[in-house]
């Protein structure tokens, strides 16, 4: 946040130059200084500095909102979206919550993408809600979504046309690196803000999966963590501002001891999430092949750890 001349009437070119010479170049530099000391040191009028400070505070500080207002606002927009699996919904206390980021982590073929597909299908088949699927691994298959849709309409078999109109509510975007993902999220935020028809009734964003995007970042762990924190922040901002549910998928990696498997992407990402579910195949040969164990590792509502066994079927 650079300090620029003309920001307010008091910040003239001359004043600005004096501040620059005193190496006060950004808004934070200026804010941290005591205007009284500054006026003595730079021989600038105290009143001017105070008015600049007021303008900067008004412009850059977050605006306080009463929690009562937030609560009443949330009451009208709040929703839980079903994942398509009853037992998984129970584990998540009703399903995917709007305003929150839920992660499904698991090894390959643990059912992450299947759950994403099922959740999309149930979301678009109820109340005309729409879904944005951010695809980074080319995992989206329209056939699979259509199958899920057929399953949700058990009583009446939908004809080609209703199926088509349902699938229209789902948009998919491909993003293969961090910059494409940022571009997608930025585009989405602006479209949501202006109420574009593309994003009407949008309730669910799916990022499948975050791992290749982050692992392709050059510049080592530090850089990757920086991008990760930015992605997390933007997803949460979207989720909170527009009351959306966000689902991301993640892989498992060996932990440092080498004995177990933990979710990838590091400590920072675990803090950014609201809810984390770890999916696991059942290795018991007596149970059906589609059986999975879902383990709730982090939740801000439910008791964790807790687990359920369910069938992907």
């Amino acid at each position: 946040m650079a300090l620029l001349p003309g920001l307010c009437t008091a910040l003239t070119q001359e004043t600005w130059q004096k501040l620059q010479d005193a190496s006060i170049k950004t808004v934070t530099d200026f804010i941290s200084k005591d205007p009284e000391l500054l006026s003595q040191r730079l021989h600038l009028p105290y009143k001017d500095l105070c008015s600049i400070q007021r303008v900067l505070l008004a412009e850059h500080a977050a605006y306080p909102v009463s929690a009562a207002l937030l609560y009443n606002g949330a009451l009208t927009t709040f929703a839980t979206l079903s994942t398509g699996y009853d037992r998984l919904d129970d584990l998540l206390d009703g399903g995917l919550y709007t305003g929150e980021v839920t992660e499904f982590a698991g090894d390959c073929a643990a059912g992450k993408t299947t759950i994403c597909h099922a959740a999309s299908a149930t979301t678009i088949s109820t109340d005309g809600q729409s879904v944005l699927y951010i695809d980074t691994v080319c995992s989206l298959s329209p056939q699979s979504i259509a199958e899920c849709l057929l399953k949700t309409h058990t009583d009446t078999c939908p004809d080609e046309q209703t199926l088509h109109s349902c699938l229209k509510k789902m948009r998919s975007v491909q993003a293969f690196d961090v910059w494409e993902l940022f571009a997608v999220l930025k585009d989405l935020a602006s479209k949501l803000a202006e109420g574009s028809s593309d994003t009407r009734d949008l309730k669910l964003i799916i990022v499948d999966s975050l791992v290749p995007v982050i692992y392709s970042v050059a510049g080592g762990v530090q850089q990757a963590q920086g991008y990760l924190s930015e992605i997390g922040l933007r997803l949460k901002q979207l989720a909170v501002t527009f009351s959306l549910a966000v689902v991301v998928t993640n892989n498992l990696v060996s932990d440092f001891g080498g004995s177990g498997r933990i979710a990838a992407l590091g400590k920072l990402w675990s803090h950014l999430l609201h809810t984390r579910v770890i999916l696991e195949r059942c290795e018991d040969p007596t149970v059906l092949s589609g059986t999975r164990t879902a383990l709730l590792v982090k939740s801000c509502r439910q008791k964790s750890p807790s687990s359920v066994v369910f069938s992907l079927g």
């Binding site: 500080a61 009562a68 839980t80 922040l233 440092f256 177990g260």
Partner: protein, 481 residues
């Protein structure tokens, strides 16, 4: 203060020496100007948080800084899912809840809270649920009595009044659970069983600290009954309270009453009840609240909380500076929560990869403004700090999943989460730099474990406490055990 007074005071200009010798503003040795209105707002007593939780907010164990100014900065530290935000939210709920309604003590403070949300995780819902549970449990516990019939009636009334108004499934669920829990409580058989088991354990005089606590409860209660002065308390777990009655009433004085234990529990009792038991006389009759009144209370408490959502470290700094005006205009604000202070750590670090002292540069002005606000306005800062950097020594420990995987080889019991039963998972690692350390926050390290009943418990430990404290979240109600 009325308008005229304000006008009057604002014309006075007070000169006073600034605080320390080391403080940033005093480096030039100049005198600071402030108007009388500012001075009054700055020095006027804000609601004291000690009643909310004496161990967390108490001033006795506060570290003094080199300048002798008592700063109240409390840091909650821990890895993910250990209840940092939940504890912060619970304390916010206790702070913003009114002390009493219709003579019923709610255990709140009625003060205002500023919540700086850097993680975008503040949930007004959750705060509302916490508030509602606090109110309902106050209603329940005030009508606690050994008479089972009355209790049943009370449970029914809760069910009756609670159900129709619920807007959310969440609330409904918690209510149902709560009603079920209450009914459980009321089954005489179960109580008797409990009594028996408790008697046996108390008699065996085990060294288990929990049992010691239990017998402590018993003795404090029988102590009370001797005085014939039983006060219903909202801060007590209603279930234990009831069983305690059953244990202690029929055979008074059967249990070992260690003097120190009695004294200690008396102390905690006093601390717990000082929040607002000024009208015990009114408490003797049952106060019931309609759902509308509960809703109104929740709304009223929620409007005591101001939420500021911040999305960068620069904005955090500017926002903290802007708090000065807010604190000047409102003398009821006594708690500022920052959840969390470490949110932009990696973001800032990666934006200047070549700059090794980047964290220090970002944190220093933030620390300066926190220290200024906390010492000049006597507000308390409650800051959560995520364990972003793991300790190199104990890297492998902290995941629950690992324990689960280990178990898989040996037994098919999937619900046995071995690693949780053993060690606390977190030790503190400082990563926010020198200036944050110099602020000397009162640090509370949180961790999570499974207890013997396979319930998740959170453990809070602080070097300033004589022992660790455990708390659990049962039916959306956070309770210290």
């Amino acid at each position: 203060m009325n308008c005229r007074q304000e006008l009057y005071y604002s014309r006075i200009t007070v000169f006073e020496m600034s605080y320390g010798v080391i403080g940033p503003s005093s480096s030039s040795g100049s005198k600071q100007k402030e108007s009388g209105a500012q001075l009054l707002a700055r020095l006027s007593p804000r609601p004291c948080l000690t009643a909310v939780d004496p161990l967390i907010f108490g001033t006795l164990s506060q570290p003094k800084t080199s300048t002798g100014v008592t700063r109240k900065v409390i840091e909650l530290y821990g890895s993910e899912g250990v209840g940092k935000s939940q504890l912060a939210l619970h304390l916010a709920a206790r702070t913003c809840l009114p002390p009493q309604v219709k003579g019923l003590s709610l255990g709140g403070l009625g003060a205002k809270v500023v919540f700086i949300d850097t993680d975008f995780k503040f949930s007004a819902f959750q705060l509302a649920v916490f508030l509602e549970r606090l109110v309902l449990s106050a209603v329940e516990s005030q009508s606690q009595s050994p008479d089972v019939g009355e209790l049943k009636k009370n449970a029914e009334s809760v069910e009756h009044q609670g159900t129709p108004c619920k807007k959310m499934k969440l609330d409904l669920d918690c209510l149902n659970e709560n009603v079920e829990g209450n009914k459980d409580c009321n089954v005489k058989e179960k109580c008797d069983k409990n009594v028996e088991s408790h008697q046996s354990t108390v008699k065996s005089n085990s060294t288990d600290p929990k049992l010691a606590l239990l017998s402590g409860n018993c003795s404090s209660l029988s102590d009370k009954t001797q005085k014939e002065d039983i006060k219903p308390s909202n801060s007590y777990d209603d279930r234990t309270l009831e069983t305690d009655f059953n244990v202690s009433n029929p055979e008074k004085g059967l249990y070992p009453q260690s003097e120190s234990v009695v004294a200690k529990t008396k102390d905690t009792w006093n601390q717990k009840t000082q929040a607002g038991n000024s009208d015990e006389a009114v408490n003797s009759r049952v106060v019931s609240l309609s759902t509308k009144e509960v809703d109104h209370l929740v709304q009223q408490s929620l409007s005591n909380v101001q939420v500021l959502r911040v999305s960068s470290s620069q904005q955090l700094l500017v926002t903290l500076h802007s708090l000065q005006d807010l604190l000047l205009s409102d003398t009821d604000v006594s708690l500022v929560i920052i959840d969390s202070i470490s949110a932009f750590y990696w973001h800032d670090k990666s934006s200047e990869p070549a700059n090794m002292s980047c964290t220090e540069q970002k944190m220093k002005p933030v620390v300066e403004v926190i220290s200024k606000l906390s010492s000049e306005f006597y507000v308390t800062f409650l800051v959560t700090k995520s364990a972003l950097i793991g300790s190199k020594r104990k890297r492998a420990e902290d995941d629950f999943y690992q324990g689960n995987n280990n178990m898989k080889g040996t037994s098919a019991d999937k619900t046995q989460h071995g690693s949780y039963l053993t060690e606390p998972q977190c030790e503190h690692v400082e990563f926010l730099g020198k200036s944050w350390l110099e602020l000397q926050p009162k640090r509370i390290v949180l961790s999570r474990r499974l207890n013997h009943q396979r319930q998740t418990e959170f453990v809070a430990s602080s070097p300033l406490w004589s022992s660790d404290r455990t708390f659990a979240i049962i039916n959306d109600h956070l309770r210290f055990l």
